[in-house]
């Protein structure tokens, strides 16, 4: 159970691609489960032998469910179009239960939305991306949130992260041309109050994005039959 917390904390650092999962919500669930788990551990200490056995069974079941939930989410994260029937077979779960869980996650905002990874360059559309390191003076009372909001509301802005290191915000901006992106930075980003400086890096080639390779993968070199 503790490892699930660690896992969720790690996940919090990761940006999701194909299926957007709100990790804060997931984290809350993990915390909640942990509380239930720890609470029931102390109850167990006072329970008689029979009750304890039953409760331990429940705990094991809860942990199994948690593992299965995570497996289902991970499968959907890899392929958001994976049919519920296939997911059910792969994790050894009832198909209706899988459908219910997915619906619950959609309603709870854990599954944010379903999207498709497209290699636009291969399709023939040139898109320009830039990573912009932004140094700002945080506002009293609002910290970085207010200024981040001013930035992420622009549709040109692909992502905004608050990061540690020499700069404060890392902003990814998308445009049709370098000129368009440069203009956006000069006219919109750099002119925001409390933005002290910007440092723009244009993306030259995309090798791997959100876990997806954008280059050819190696062929299967195995023989047809091996013992």
């Amino acid at each position: 159970m503790y490892s699930s917390i660690a896992w969720a904390l790690v996940l919090r650092k990761i940006t999701f691609s194909k299926i957007h999962i709100q990790v804060d919500d997931l984290l809350e669930i993990v915390y909640t489960d942990t509380n239930v788990w720890m609470g029931s551990q102390s109850l167990l200490a006072h329970a008689n032998e029979d009750e304890r056995r039953v409760s331990e069974g429940n705990l094991v079941r809860m942990q199994d469910d948690m593992t299965k939930d995570r497996e289902i989410l991970k499968l959907l994260e890899q392929d958001s179009r994976m049919p519920a029937e296939r997911i059910a077979a792969m994790v050894g779960e009832d198909v209706d239960k899988v459908r219910d869980r997915i619906r619950e996650w959609e309603n709870a905002g854990i599954i944010r939305r379903y999207k498709t990874v497209i290699d636009w360059e291969r399709f023939g559309v040139e898109r320009v991306f830039a990573f912009i390191d932004v140094s700002v003076t945080p506002e009293r009372g609002a910290g970085f949130d207010d200024i981040a909001r001013r930035i992420y509301r622009y549709p040109e802005v692909h992502s905004v992260y608050l990061v540690s290191g020499g700069h404060d915000l890392r902003v990814v901006v998308e445009g049709d041309s370098m000129k368009q992106v440069a203009n956006f930075v000069a006219e919109k980003l750099a002119t925001i109050d409390r933005v002290n400086s910007t440092n723009t890096h244009f993306l030259l080639k995309k090798y791997k994005d959100d876990g997806d390779l954008f280059v050819e993968t190696d062929a299967d070199h195995r023989l047809m039959v091996t013992p």
Binding site: E71, L75, R86, A89, M90, V91, G92, D218, D220, R222, L223, M224, V225, T226, P227
Partner: protein, 392 residues
């Protein structure tokens, strides 16, 4: 030597290799490439000139890491001079058999089993004695069957769990009873545990960890399956000291040592690639459930394989032999599976399907096999699938 037939799988391979659009479920290796961190460690070793011989037993660092790994994972303690780095478990098995067998000694092993067991025993001058296991009870090996096969000439038992080709695992109690038999009759046990990490249900029992086992067990394991390193040919053998010394003697005159850079890659694997293994195992497990359920649904009854990456469905109700079934399936639907009799006589009536292949390929294979089964004028009623088998 000429009395030993070539591997049945090879013969089959020659046919399949010449056809187009074949979905192969007949490989015996992971479909993952070796994790990058391990490949990178191998490249680093070559770049930095680790190209010389190592000591015969292997790199002390690697041996120490294996000793620590076995202790942490299974609470089994092997001193460093009891561990030998081999070129695959195949070499380890050959060394073990040659180190303990005198001409005419018998080795009891459970069938169906990996193709090299009986030939390996014969090459070492021994006599292979098969104990048959049955699909009906999950290819469980019954300790009393082993005891019944023991004669004054029996020298050793050879076991492999999780099993290739059946995917069967063995519970701790039965294994302990087998060890007790070995103690009673003073037999060695060679335990091939190459699939240990690929255990999906329950926990793997390392044979050496059982009461009375350590000083009569030769433990064989390696990197091929867990770390997707089949082509690197790297493994290890752990044995009681006098046996380890004899194995080392044969190894130093026949192999000298395992490749230096490969040993360094293996060191990276055992120390750093735990997460890679877990990810791969989770992936196999998903495909295992999907594929085994699929097989049972199309009338190919299959017990739940709890380990390795093989399903071993029965094809008895089709009225065909394993070889007939496999070649008909290959010719008509372009799906390659391995006839069960390649793994010994008790594999007859079964075929081995490896599910370590892309999900889309597995689903396509199931569709083709379903079409194949529908065309077959079989006594379908006899294929009554027990609810137990379907509970995956």
């Amino acid at each position: 030597m000429t009395a030993t037939p070539p591997s049945g799988i090879r013969r089959f391979f020659d046919i399949a290799a010449q056809m187009d659009d074949v979905i192969s479920l007949s490989v015996g290796e992971p479909d993952f490439v070796t994790p990058w961190r391990i490949r990178e460690a191998g490249i680093y070793a070559i770049e930095h000139g680790f190209t010389a011989y190592t000591s015969n037993a292997g790199l002390p660092r690697l041996i120490q890491a294996i000793s620590e790994y076995l202790y942490t994972r299974y609470q089994v303690h092997y001193d460093e001079d009891q561990i030998l780095i081999t070129v695959g478990v195949s070499e380890g098995l050959d060394l073990a058999l040659r180190a303990i067998l005198n001409t005419g000694d018998e080795v009891i092993y459970a069938e169906p089993c990996y193709v090299s067991y009986a030939p390996g025993i014969r090459f070492a001058g021994g006599i292979p004695v098969a104990v048959h296991t049955q699909g009906d009870d999950g290819f469980r090996i019954h300790p009393e069957d082993i005891e019944a096969a023991v004669t004054p000439k029996t020298k050793a038992l050879l076991l492999c769990y999780p099993n290739n080709p059946t995917g069967a695992t063995q519970n701790r109690e039965d294994l302990q009873r087998i060890v007790d038999i070995a103690v009673k009759h003073d037999l060695y046990i060679i335990s091939d545990e190459i699939y240990d990490r690929l255990t999906y249900i329950g926990k793997h029992t390392c044979l050496s960890s059982l009461n009375g086992a350590l000083d009569r067990t030769i433990l064989l394991n390696g990197f091929s399956k867990a770390y997707a390193m089949t082509g690197w040919r790297i493994a290890y053998a752990c044995a009681p000291k006098p046996i380890a010394e004899n194995m080392l003697k044969i190894h130093q005159y026949t192999m000298l040592c395992a490749p230096h850079m490969v040993q360094l890659a293996a060191l990276e694997a055992i120390q750093k690639a735990g997460n890679d293994v877990e990810e791969m195992v989770a992936d196999y497990d998903h495909r295992r459930r999907l594929f085994v359920r699929g097989l049972n649904e199309i009338g190919l009854r299959c017990i739940e394989p709890k380990g390795a990456f093989y399903a071993f469905p029965s094809i008895r109700h089709t009225g065909l032999t394993s070889e007939q079934f496999a070649s008909k399936l290959l010719m008509e639907e372009r799906v390659a599976v391995v006839p069960g009799n390649a793994f010994g006589a008790s594999g007859e009536g079964y075929v081995r399907c490896c599910y370590a292949t892309a999900l889309s390929q597995l689903e396509e294979a199931l569709e083709r096999m379903e079409r194949f089964m529908q065309k077959m004028p079989l006594e379908r009623k006899s294929a009554n699938i027990s609810s137990e088998a379907l509970k995956i």
